[in-house]
């Protein structure tokens, strides 16, 4: 690991400097994670008096449980929808902003602030817009003969949380796409223009491939966001309902463990989620900005 050529030779000082970070990490991150792993192999009796070691039973039960498997599929669908929509929308806006000169800053300001909106607040904003009795959007949809009710229709509820999660993430993707676009040398586009390529051809054959490191990075970040940071959106709006239709994995851990008090199963779910995060972080640090580099 890299250090400086010139270093200080104290022994105790560096330990004291890094200690606060280490202590907090050990107490609030590593210890709880180990506890989660331990209780994922245990079962508690209904009164919480005794626990017994049950090997992989919590895991095998989970994977035999249709509600868990469908939550898995639902999370996949949700994450894919949010990632694709938020990235596509942001890319179009970033490409547009990078074309305008004078007003670029004004548009950027108007587009980036949702980053600072809490997920739960984003959820409530859209929950209100889609409110079946007084909301503006069901009213508009009604004019087209579409009935909207996310309280009874699982599909409507899913569409609602996807829209809210996408809306919140556009600003983030937009900033990274914009930074990526601005780092592509103009000379390349100019050369292609001289060769007779129009703006759209240039975008798809030159700009988009050169943007692939950013795209790949955002892909990982967005999947991570959709899987874990959207807890507030779900809890603020549908609470996983109606009839489990929006119960994604991260919400299920909370609902089963904290509300349902099924500690063993919830711990096993936590461990599975940890493995997913570890895989995502691994992919991010191992491959991003190395493989897709021109």
């Amino acid at each position: 690991m890299q250090t400086k050529r010139t270093i200080f030779s104290n022994r105790a000082l560096p330990i004291a400097l890094i200690a606060p970070q280490l202590v907090i990490t050990l107490i609030f991150f590593i210890w709880p994670a180990l506890q989660a792993i331990r209780s994922s192999f245990e079962r508690e009796d209904p009164f919480g008096l005794r626990t017994s070691f049950v090997w992989f039973q919590n895991y095998t039960r989970l994977f035999a449980d249709p509600t868990y498997l469908s939550a898995f599929g639902r999370t996949l669908l949700f994450a894919t929808a949010v990632t694709v929509l938020a990235m596509a929308f942001a890319l179009v806006l970033a490409a547009a902003v990078s074309r305008v000169m004078r007003s670029a800053n004004a548009y950027t300001t108007l587009l980036v602030w949702p980053y600072a909106v809490a997920p739960v607040v984003a959820g409530i904003l859209w929950w209100f817009m889609f409110n079946p009795s007084i909301g503006i959007l069901p009213y508009v949809l009604g004019q087209f003969g579409i009935t909207w009710n996310h309280r009874t229709s699982g599909t409507d509820a899913m569409v609602l949380v996807v829209i809210a999660a996408t809306w919140k993430q556009i600003s983030y993707n937009f900033l990274f796409f914009l930074a990526g676009l601005q780092s592509i040398p103009n000379a390349l586009s100019e050369a292609a223009a001289i060769d007779g390529a129009g703006p759209f051809k240039r975008f798809f054959t030159i700009v988009l491939p050169l943007l692939s490191p950013t795209t790949f990075f955002l892909l990982i970040i967005n999947v991570n966001y959709a899987m874990f940071d959207t807890f507030g959106i779900i809890d603020g709006t549908t609470s996983g309902g109606p009839n489990q239709a929006t119960n994604i994995l991260v919400y299920k851990v909370y609902a089963d463990g904290f509300l349902g008090l099924n500690i063993g199963s919830s711990a096993a779910q936590s461990v599975i989620l940890m493995l997913i995060v570890i895989a995502l972080v691994f992919v991010q640090f191992r491959f991003v900005e190395r493989r897709v580099q021109y």
């Binding site: 400086k4 010139t6 270093i7 200080f8 104290n10 000082l13 560096p14 400097l17 606060p20 970070q21 280490l22 990490t25 107490i27 609030f28 991150f29 590593i30 709880p32 994670a33 989660a36 209780s39 806006l93 547009a96 074309r99 305008v100 000169m101 548009y107 950027t108 108007l110 587009l111 980036v112 602030w113 600072a116 909106v117 809490a118 997920p119 739960v120 607040v121 904003l125 209100f128 817009m129 409110n131 503006i136 009213y139 900033l175 586009s189 100019e190 703006p199 990075f217 874990f228 809890d235 603020g236 991260v250 909370y254 904290f258 919830s266 711990a267 936590s270 989620l273 940890m274 995060v277």
Partner: protein, 282 residues
């Protein structure tokens, strides 16, 4: 711009205006709702033009709150949120700049291991270790306290990496010169490294403040006493209540007030915000 295409320019602006409209519309609707008189939301559709009761609604929320939903007045929750965000920001930046300094400028036993332990925090978001973390905080007696709200959140791998990256670009000659002049590690850190890190600290503060402000799950778990509610989690309670008793004018006033501080920070410190965001994620 490579060539001049008037039609495409118009289309570009059109796309941007539609994009901005989609992004702004939900907040516009919320703001309009927050200006309506009580009783507007019993039937019909949400109005799209401001109502007469803006000042009453905001004053009611700030001073009394929606007592029926069991949430305290909004000013108290705003103060709590501010405290939480500020403590998280200061805490995260202090402990990460110190640990980055230790990792870059010293050699000590188990340095690589320490680095990896810090790195691991990236892989364990609160959401996946809810129950055991709650148990730890509860055993330490930190439920319903600012310490319990903030302490578990202030370990930061990203901030540590950012400072480490930055320290590695600081020329070695500076350290050598400082040592020749007889400066020890503490003096070097305070008089040279800290001033050099000013911009990074500022940029990171913006990101961390937002991070602290928008926390939801953690405050929800560790606060049962309404004196410690933060505004972001308090809103959820009011919104759930508004579904039965449509006081959306009040709920939306709370929503606007809860969004305002971090959104204003992003708008007025845009350059620092963008710098902080783009650099922490690299």
């Amino acid at each position: 711009m490579v060539e001049n295409r008037p039609l495409l320019n118009i289309a570009t602006h059109l796309v941007l205006i539609i994009g901005v409209a989609i992004v702004v519309f939900p907040v516009y609707v919320a703001f309009i709702a927050s200006t309506q008189a009580p009783g507007t939301f019993f039937r019909g559709v949400t109005p799209l033009l401001p109502g007469p009761a803006m000042i009453e609604n905001y004053t009611t929320m700030l001073t009394d709150g929606m007592s029926t939903s069991g949430a305290p007045p909004l000013w108290l929750m705003l103060v709590n949120s501010t405290w939480m965000a500020v403590i998280v920001t200061v805490g995260k930046i202090s402990i990460s700049i110190l640990s980055a300094y230790a990792i870059v400028y010293f050699r000590f036993p188990l340095r690589a291991l320490c680095f990896w332990i810090v790195f691991v925090t990236l892989m364990l978001p609160v959401e996946v270790r809810i129950i055991p973390t709650f148990a730890v905080v509860s055993n330490l007696g930190l439920l319903n306290s600012y310490l319990g709200l903030t302490l578990p959140l202030i370990a930061s791998a990203t901030a540590t990496f950012l400072f480490r990256q930055f320290f590695l670009t600081v020329p070695d000659e500076l350290t050598e010169a400082a040592r020749v002049d007889g400066a020890g590690p503490v003096k070097f850190f305070i008089d040279i490294l800290l001033p050099l890190s000013r911009t990074n600290i500022a940029a990171l503060s913006v990101i961390m403040f937002i991070y602290g402000w928008v926390q939801y799950l953690w405050p929800l778990l560790v606060t049962t006493d309404s004196r410690y509610y933060t505004v972001v989690m308090g809103i959820k309670r009011m919104a759930a209540y508004a579904d039965q008793q449509p006081q959306w004018n009040l709920v939306m006033a709370a929503v606007i007030l809860a969004m305002l501080p971090p959104v204003l920070i992003v708008i007025f410190m845009q350059r620092l915000f963008v710098k902080g965001l783009v650099e922490t994620e690299k």
